[in-house]
């Protein structure tokens, strides 16, 4: 039957428009909730519009006025500095911990499954629930975080969330606690894919655990690290839920980061124009991260 009949048995050819219909729902969502709002944000960023001030309620064109205001705003500068500290602090810390966790739980020891569970479960908790629990841990005097620090000999200030020098660090600690276990699974998968004979050879040669780790495993997992860094950086910019619970960006902006500030400007100050300019700043940062990642992974792949 094979040689004779094919032309007759060919499938009814699907109409040419079919693929467009199949992708249209997805296309429509991306158009309405990604592409269009990007254009709209750029457009409205050239206008002054406050929703809570009667005479500024209708938008007025002010060119780059909103961007100029950002450049000179002390609040924005503080927020940028906080964001830089937040990202440059939480990302490397999460990655190092993730790698350490992966190494620790990638050993055949009784009960190791429990450790993996313990490192990973924060991933599936809502950030606001995690932050609510952390609120207790940060409580002065009897909060467990303070109790723990005191047992290590810490005698510094205990009001983490109310202290302008500590609030940002506190929200960073929560972010790292939540993120490390998630990133761990990528290193774990990476470690399990590594050729085991490399380690066997190294350990016969008498290389210490530490050497095996930094001289062999970490370099071999360079691609994983690049990939994990990208996830971590993007998440650092877009997860601010815990700030709503823990500090509301305070005291006096000391723990406010870009996305949280954007929310404040739009929904507390009701300043649509400035919020749009901030949206554009955030979009540019996101695109820059994606492009950087793309270029780096191209180079790695070559």
């Amino acid at each position: 039957m094979t040689a004779v009949s094919p032309p007759l048995r060919r499938s009814r050819k699907a109409p040419a428009w079919l693929p467009y219909v199949l992708i249209s729902p997805t296309l429509l969502i991306v158009l309405v909730f990604t592409a269009w709002p990007t254009v709209q944000a750029i457009y409205t960023s050239f206008f002054r519009q406050y929703l809570n001030i009667a005479k500024f309620r209708t938008p007025t064109f002010i060119g780059l006025g909103n961007y100029r205001q950002l450049l000179t705003s002390a609040d924005f500068h503080e927020v940028l500095r906080n964001t830089a500290i937040y990202v440059l602090g939480t990302v490397p810390a999460s990655i190092v911990l993730a790698f350490l966790f992966a190494l620790l739980v990638n050993r055949a020891v009784k009960g190791i499954g429990l450790a993996r569970l313990s490192f990973f479960y924060p991933t599936i908790l809502p950030m606001v629930s995690a932050a609510t629990i952390w609120m207790f841990f940060f409580t002065p005097d009897y909060g467990l975080f303070n109790t723990f620090l005191q047992s290590l000999g810490y005698h510094g200030p205990q009001n983490w969330l109310g202290n302008p020098h500590l609030a940002l660090l506190a929200v960073m600690i929560v972010a790292v606690w939540k993120q490390a276990g998630y990133l761990m699974i990528f290193y774990l998968a990476g470690l399990q894919n590594l050729p085991q004979d490399v380690f066997e050879a190294a350990s016969i040669d008498g290389a210490s655990w530490w050497t095996q780790l930094w001289k062999i495993a970490f370099p071999l997992l360079r691609r994983t690290t690049l990939f994990v860094s990208t996830i971590a950086v993007i998440d650092a910019f877009q997860v601010v839920d815990h700030i709503f619970v823990l500090t509301q960006g305070g005291p006096s902006q000391s723990s406010s980061v870009l996305l949280y500030y954007l929310w404040q400007v739009r929904f507390e100050d009701q300043n649509v124009g400035l919020a749009s300019a901030l949206t554009v700043v955030l979009i540019v940062i996101m695109l820059a991260i994606t492009v950087t990642n793309f270029l780096l992974s191209e180079r790695e792949g070559a």
Binding site: I23, P25, L117, L144, T147, I283
Partner: protein, 278 residues
Amino acid sequence: MGAKMRKRLTNFLLNLLTAVLALGWASLIVWAIVVSFRPSSEPLGRGDVWFGHHLTFANYLKAFSLAPFAIYYRNTIIIVGMILVAQLVTITLAGFAFAHQEFRGKKLLFFFILLQLMIPAAALLVPNFATIRKLGLFDTTLAVALPYFGSAFGTFLMRQAFLEVPRDLVDAGVMDGCSWWQLLWHIYLPPSIPTLIAFALSSVTWHWNEFLWPLVVTLSDKSRPLTIGLVRFTQLGEIGARWPLLSAATIIVIAPLLLLFLLFQRQFIRSFLHSGLK
């Protein structure tokens, strides 16, 4: 010190480190569970932050009476359910089109959809809020769910899964005169179910936990999900620092996912592993 001794010492130290870190990480959830059963008449104090004199379920009842958690539950389930059903349909169809069919503008349209991965929804909060208002959807569960009805990431995953279906199988189906939906249903979908499940688990987790977008587009209890309900609860004047009550509310929000996770740990971890593999 001999090599064997050194090895044993290293292992001991590593086990110790693992145990200390694991206990530290777990202490949060363990504390929350323990304290949620502590009588609220026994305030926490220095060195007394775990069990009370007896266990009580009263905090849970009290939490349910102070805030409409049942309604929050309903809303979260509606939102997560709507998103999941819509996504499973849209990513399957789009993934199929991109994997199986040839059409003009295919590359360009695929790239266009990938925009969603490059500009995360969180950044577009402000203009999307304006869109939701214009659509007349403000303060509805649909407003929370709608922007996620299409998923670039899901489309990408399904396309990959479909591309891995052996060519011979597809050709055989074509020879047998299958229509496009028979091909999709009988040949492409069955081997791709694990990918769909992996996507579904991370989608459910993600949207169950989402906070910022629902915060912006909901205003009343009729549409608020659990996460928003919890934060409002923590800010109620009468709650203050009543930790047993707060813990109970926290556990109420996370219990379903946590149970699901404990039952299907392996699948969850695989799903999250997938969700990062862009």
